[in-house]
Amino acid sequence: MSSKTLYTLTSSQKMMIFVLSMSLYGLSNMFTELIPSFQLGPIELSVEYFAFIPLTLCILFHPLYAAVGAALGEVIFGELMLGQFGGLGELEKFLTFSFAMYVAGRLVRNPQNRMQVGIAAMTGVIIHQLCSTLVDIGKVWIGVEEFEAVPGLAESVVLVEGVSFLNDVLFSGILFALLPTLYLVPRLYGKIEPLLGIKPRVSTTRYEAAGIISPKLVITGIVLALVAFGAESLSETDWNIGEWDSGFADRFGIGAIWLSLGIAAVIAVVTLLVLRARKNRNAQSGNVENSPYA
């Protein structure tokens, strides 16, 4: 159970990080869901999320468990409890968000270096926003034939997506990711770790799975994306049987969640298969490995 390796986390420590990240980010998500947005014309100034919470935790602790915990916290507190659960559509968010936060956490070698922390925070937000925007626009591009039937809709989609990207990166990104993270990480560093019985990470810290996760993570991501797009294209041609006329065109004009339902369904199946396989392979205790990356 106990390990002699210096920086290996025990399964309970992983669980603690996970629970911590889940409850905090979940709580914050309830607030951000409820904070009204300021709409100035088409530009919507909204507090998208308190990304600083998972960012801070990913930088201070093992990024994988903090990232997955936060993403799950959002699903549970921000969606399920508020009755806003988009069902399958949340999967895409779950994947891109935990991926982005994980990468941000991995970028930082030394949590006391403000430069690194700042760059990581912004990178995390940009990766997440870029992922979701690209996914959205990519889906529009595939469905563009029928899409042009409604004049002006294509432009609006690009505009809305672009504006929301800029808003999220500049407004939420700077105010609710960059600044608070810069404020919190140095203040929490060395304080919060002992509360969990974990040694603060230093620049030489290597996580036990460091060598394995990265490439696997990227590959899994790419494969999932390819599968998703492939399925999407297939649906264009083959699935138009009788009633099941694909009505994709109509929905491509709307924000990320609803658009990605189709994709998400595919991802869901893949994820479930991966999870099944994983679970059969190692039903390990304590740590929460409901991420397909791990």
Partner: protein, 273 residues
């Protein structure tokens, strides 16, 4: 900007907490919450996916009506419906208005109406299932459908810990207010007050992170003493946990009824067009 003013004047943290708690816990008596969660999840999967592939106004409208009925049956808190409506109107409305600028006309409204109906069906279906059902049942259902045990545990743990987190958050926020200084002038549209509260909201997470870290440690340790990790490795425990799930007559009635209704819609659609 009436909304902004209302936000500060009427909506207190207490009230939000109360509404959220009502949402999360107040669903025990709804007639739909007695149904088997596995059946409900499968039912949800159907109504979350299928509408996207349907182009007929009639079928969509029929489904929409059906969803309104089930939502009503599950006695969802009005607060949630309000949030949903505002979201729908905001999203689709803006899209329509912007498309007018890019040379669209009133004819764009019709596809957008379809879009709205699809969105409504999907969201109402998820509201029916996920907020009308007891969290324990949701997590049992998910567990039965193969979602990892950690997820279903986290879900019910979330419901347990929410009031505690809220309480702590309130106290921390109160500490800031009792020792801080509110802006003397509210500013146009209360923006100063808004910024003040937003800043507090962010600052409050510093003490909260430390307090929650302390808590997670005890919780995880206690889980260990109560055989949690043992149970995760033990298939018998999962089987036992799910042994109480039984598809009963009213489950079949509900699922069968839904299927019949949808089939009827498709049949009508075929007949009309």
């Amino acid at each position: 900007m009436e909304l902004v003013r209302n936000w500060f004047n009427k909506i207190s943290l207490d009230r939000i907490q109360l509404e959220l708690m009502n949402t999360a816990y107040g669903s025990g008596h709804a007639s739909l919450s007695r149904l088997d969660p596995r059946g409900m999840l499968i039912w949800y999967l159907f109504f979350a996916v299928v509408p996207w592939f349907i182009n007929s106004y009639l079928v969509l409208a029929g489904m929409c009506l059906f969803m309104i009925a089930t939502t009503w049956l599950s006695r969802v808190s009005p607060f949630i419906i309000l949030v949903l409506c505002l979201g729908l109107i905001g999203q689709v409305g803006w899209l329509f208005i912007i498309s007018l600028f890019f040379g669209g006309d009133i004819s764009s409204a019709l596809p957008l109406l379809k879009l709205t109906m699809k969105l409504s069906v999907v969201s109402l279906a998820s509201i029916t299932v996920f907020s009308g059902m007891d969290p324990e049942k949701i997590s049992d259902g998910l567990l039965a459908l193969g979602v990892p045990a950690a997820f279903s545990f986290s879900l019910s743990y979330g419901y347990r810990i929410l009031p505690v987190l809220f309480e702590e958050f309130r106290n921390v926020l109160l500490s800031y207010r009792l020792r801080g200084k509110a802006p003397e002038h509210h500013g146009v549209l209360y923006w100063r007050l808004g910024v003040y509260y937003l800043k507090l909201l962010v600052y409050a997470f510093f003490p909260l992170m430390l307090a929650t870290a302390k808590r997670s440690r005890t919780t995880v340790e206690a889980l260990e003493t109560r055989g949690f990790s043992y149970g995760m490795r033990n298939p018998a425990a999962k089987k036992l946990k799910l042994a109480h799930l039984k598809l009963q007559r009213h489950d079949f009635l509900f699922l069968g009824g839904s299927a019949l209704y949808v089939a009827l819609l498709f049949w009508l659609n075929q007949g009309v067009f």
